[in-house]
Each structure stands twice: as structure tokens, then as C-alpha cells.
Symmetry: C3
Subunit: 254 residues, 3 copies
């Protein structure tokens, strides 16, 4: 099977699967480009209510596809294009996605894997998962926007330990640092992620989009426009009416 | 008893009590306005050395008073006034308070409760306390400045889990995320908060105010004026003299 | 032995030792000035690959040398000079160091000790180490840039507990807050730090410098110049060639 990004739709939940399983889902350049396309497409479909990102097989993502590196990394312009257009193109499409994104992490989550997980909203991991970015062994630093994303998600100390000491951390460390919402036995991870995705899909979709837009604007030091325009919306009325009537709310797609 | 904010003075310690105990201390609009008035008054009394915020009865605060919501939330201008003037008016009065503020948290601490706790300096909780902001069930997002306050206090991941997945967390999770200073058995919470308030009240009051002003300025990207004007003050001299004389310092009110 | 900063070179590893062991390594004004000189010197030696900061004897650092305080702290201009030139001079020289810096922490790590540790990249501590900044007992606040450094490293809540309540924390609390990479039995601390320093010294030195410059620029809201100029470098080629050849990389000094 060719390496690539698989997108599987199931009701309101879209699964995005990193798929180069003979390489522990290492990201090739074409996979980065496909990941961008996948998230841009998701952003265009209002019926999607939750995205689940995972790796094919029993790993999340081992990093970049190093076999490709000698072909382009030693040329400054090509290296810039790789990081700024391909890698950041995909990561920024993930960050700009207005729908809640859950990372389902087992096995290795290294380098590119940590970056992709850092661009998700919620992260659930198997207790055996391993996290790191040991690129100091490969002789290169993390690109600036990728480092900002990762340091913001894993914390400054853990980012320095990963980058300066090639440290690899287990799931319990990453949970204590606020990187993981929940740590589960490997056998329970898939069911827990499916249940979470289903629960997220039943919550108010307009509120989710506004919350994500607000948190994104805060990181950039800005504000969203017309933050109270939702006042008279059907979704807002339904949520409050259902609560007062002590019934379950029914939130329509946008 | 009418719902409201009770303010109780005991020596140098002021207790601010959220009081609508038949509604688990849910915050009505008038309670938000009273909370603002209470903190503005505290700011004007130089003899106050520590503020303790708690709920009446066995809960901290269940959130907003939803029974009031149909009366104003569906009108954009009213909704803006509620969030920007009433809620943010109270929270910003808390944030601008120069005296150390301790939150004493038991039972539910949800929505408005998490916001109020986030505006305190120190947070002690009973091990049975529950934390969340499940407004995605109510069909609306968190207002921008409130979200910035909460995300800064609970961490980005926990804020997303609360807002996007309506997740509710226990005290041990919140302690691990740096939201709680200490977690105690419910029977020990009150005594621990009283002891902490007493200890804080015995420390240098001018130093506390300068520390709070400094940390506030840092969050806003600014700096305080004349940061070393305290050099020749009686408080500064007393602290150092007492240490060198190996006696307990005696710090006067400002 | 006179109080001072000892610098010991061993291969690619430089040890910087806080040395006033009869005062638990409390920092005198001259020690702050020597600490600045030590780090400026390290920055000029390209063969240094890792710095280890520790205290002489069985403590890290008890704080400032309070015996000196009556001689200068009550004069505003002198107080400003102390904080802005001497203390911040040393801490900023540490922060501007491009080589990975490890703090080896046992015993007391208080006030100036927490500030020095906060200026390191990685922090390993003995499980019996104690952390705090109880200057509220001494009648003065933390200076602004020092407070920003410490609050960024220990987290906002722990900083407030240290400054407003004179709280002292153990190593497990500090690890949970993301301040410590690792907590070890006291008998194992030295060997663990030596092993970590050796490992860091074997990693790509140019990548380490670029990572540190990038993380520093991010904190200041800026960016490094020519971030991809390393593309054709020997170090970059060696790291990737070694990985592909499944051999250990050999990174030359810069």
C-alpha cells in the first residue's frame, strides 16, 4: 500500500490516518502535503463535528521520513520550502481547523509526530506511548514555528529536554506536563477515543467553533470579530431551553 | 435568605462568600455586580492583608444562574453588557486587587466558579471538588477575556477539554496542572485556608502589593513604575533587621 | 576559602560552582558579578558543549547574602544597581548562553537559588531538595525581570505561593509543575547529572545553539536570522549520513 494520509468519514466524525506503517508512519514530503489538503477539506464541510488523528497500525508517527532527507535538506532554499510550506502548511491547516481535533496516540510519537499531536486540541495516549524529538542526533534544530508549537504544548522544560538532550518521555510524564488529557491501557485507547469523539460530536458545534477561534486569537494576541453575534442563534436558544426543560439538547449541524 | 455576596471582616482577613446556596451558589447578574463592589471596597481598605473567597454551604459555585438566561442572553447588546460589564467587571476587580486572594474550593466549581477561582492567587481545594465549564451543553462559548483568564490558570489542554468536550476534572488533575496549591480532605480544608490566610496576613503587606502589581504588569507586557521606591521604607528595614537579629519581623499595616 | 564562583573545565563540560559553603552558597554581590563573568567566558569558548551549575557541598544556594543587605538595600539607586546590573547581569548572561545548561540541585534552592536554576535549561534535583523564595519575610518583593524568569519556570501559581505565602515546596511538587526534568535519590544525583552532561556533549553542538537561540527569540517575540543557513553544514550532513548508515554520528566542535 502506498504511503499517504487516509481520510475516513463516519457520521459526524472524520478520521485522519497517518499511513506509512512499514516506516512507523514517518511523514514523507507528500504526506505533509496530503495532510494539509485533508484539513483544508475538513474545514469546508460543515457536517464534520469532530476529527480524530491517528496512525495506521500500532504507532502514531516516528518522525520525518529520513530516507528522503539527503535529497533536499542540504540545500538552503529547499530546506526552507520544506519547513515553511510543507510542514508548516500542514500544521497551520490543522491549527486553523475550527472543529475539535483529538489525537489518538500509541507506540512512537516522535519529531513530526509530536508536532502533529501538538496541533490537536485533545490528546489521549496509551500508557506505553513514547514521546520525543531527538533530532539533535540527526544534526539539525527544530524550525522556529514548529518549536513554538511544541514548546507551547509540552512546556518549556520538556521541549528543552527533548531538543537539547534527545530525551524520550513516557505517557505519565507527558500527562503531568499537561500534554495529555488522559492515559489509557493500550487495549482501551481506541474505544475511549471513539467515545470521546462521539461525545464531542453531540455538543454545540457553533460554540465549539467560537471557542477554537477565540483560543486561537488569544495565542496570536488578537480577538475575534462580533463575539456575541451568536446571541439569537437557534443553537444558543436550544441549549438553554433544553437545560431549563431538563431534557437533552439537540444541536443541528451548522 | 436573599442571594448575594457576603463580606465578613475578621482582623486583617476579609472573607468574600458567594451566597445562593439553594442554587449551589450559582452567580446571578446582581451577584456579579455585588462581587465587583466587594473587591473595589477591599482595594480601598489598607488594613486588609488577605482575602478568602468561598461559597456558602458545601459548594464553591455551580456556574451562572441559568434561570435568568432566557431573559437577556438572546439579545446581542444585552449579552455583551453581561459579559463585558457584569462578569468582566467583577473578575477584573478581583484581578486588580493588590491583596493576596485565596480561593477555598469544595463541591462544585464550574463555569463562573472556575472563572472566579482563576482570578484568585492561591487555590486550595477539597479532594472531592469537581472542576469544569460544560457550557458546550448549553449552546454557547466562553467569552474571550474569561477564556484567556481560565486558559492561563488551568492550562491550554485542560481549558480545551472543559470547553470542547465538557470534561469535568477532579482535584488531583487540577493540582497536577498547577491550578491548585494544595488538595486536602474536606474536613481539613477550612482550617488549612484559615491558617494560610493568617500566615499571609503576617507577611510584608507592601511587598505583597508590589509582587501582585509586578505579576499583573508582566501578564499585560508592561512594568510597574518606580519599582525600587520601597528601598528606604520601614517595612523593608524591619524585614532585614529582624532576620539579622534572628527575631520574628513585625510588619505594620500600610 | 574565599566565597566565589569556581569554574572547572573537564573535556567539553564546564562546571560552574556556587561557592560560599559556610553560608549554604548564598550569593554575595561579588559572586553575582563573578557568575556573569563566568558565563560570558563560556560563551566565548566554542569547545564547551555543556555547562553544569551546582553548589559547593550539599546545598545548591540559600538565596542572597543577607549580611550584606543593610549596606546597600535601603538606598534606591544602589538597590536598582544591585538588581538591574549585578543580579540581572548574571542571570541574563546565563540566559544568553548558547550552550545547554544543566542545574544540579540538592539541599536548599531558595530565592537567588531559584532564580539561577530558572535560568538553566534542564534541572535535576535530589528528592530532598527544597524550593522557595520567602522574601515576604524579609520585607521586599521580587524584582520584575527576576519575577518574570521565575514565574515562567515554576508556573504562575507556584510563583504566587512562593512570593505571597512564603511557601516552600519539595522536589515532587516542582517536578509536577514542569520545573524539574528528573528527581533522584541524593546519592544518585551527581552521577545522573554527569551522565546527562556527557550525553548532551555528544549531540550536535550547532543544533543545540540554534535551538537555544530559537527558544530565546520566541520568548522575546522575535525570530532568529537565517534559520536555514545550517543546511549545507558538515554537522547536518554528518547527522543524517550516520543515521542512514546506522552508525553513531561524530559531531565536531564548532
Amino acid at each position: 500500500m502506498a504511503a499517504g494520509i487516509s481520510v475516513v468519514q463516519s457520521g459526524a466524525i472524520t478520521s485522519v490516518i497517518l499511513n506509512s506503517s512499514d516506516k512507523l508512519n514517518a511523514m514523507s514530503r507528500s504526506m505533509w502535503r496530503e495532510l494539509k489538503v485533508a484539513f483544508e477539506a475538513i474545514q469546508g464541510y460543515p457536517s464534520v463535528r469532530c476529527v480524530l488523528v491517528r496512525g495506521a497500525g500500532s504507532h502514531f508517527c516516528a518522525g520525518g521520513d529520513i530516507a528522503e532527507y539527503p535529497g533536499f535538506r542540504f540545500d538552503e532554499a529547499e530546506l526552507r520550502r520544506f519547513h515553511e510550506d510543507e510542514v508548516w502548511g500542514a500544521l497551520s491547516a490543522m491549527l486553523e481547523c475550527d472543529v475539535p481535533v483529538i489525537a489518538q496516540i500509541q507506540g512512537v510519537c516522535m519529531g513530526a509526530g509530536v508536532e502533529i499531536a501538538s496541533a490537536c486540541d485533545l490528546r489521549l495516549a496509551a500508557e506505553s506511548a513514547k514521546f520525543g524529538a531527538p533530532i539533535a542526533r540527526l544534526g539539525f534544530p527544530m524550525a522556529q514555528r514548529e518549536a513554538a508549537l511544541v514548546a507551547g504544548a509540552v512546556g518549556d522544560m520538556t521541549a528543552r529536554a527533548m531538543l537539547l538532550a534527545a530525551e524520550v518521555f513516557g505517557a505519565s510524564h507527558m500527562a503531568a506536563q499537561g500534554f495529555l488529557t488522559q492515559v489509557l491501557a493500550e487495549a482501551e485507547l481506541d474505544a475511549a477515543c471513539q467515545a470521546l469523539a462521539k461525545r464531542v460530536s453531540g455538543l454545540a458545534p457553533q460554540a465549539a467553533r467560537l471557542n477554537k477561534q477565540t483560543l486561537r486569537a488569544l495565542k496570536l494576541g488578537g480577538a475575534i470579530e462580533n463575539p456575541y453575534a451568536y446571541a439569537a442563534s437557534a443553537e444558543h436558544r436550544e441549549g438553554i431551553a433544553a437545560f431549563i426543560a431538563k431534557r437533552k439538547p439537540h444541536f443541528q449541524n451548522l
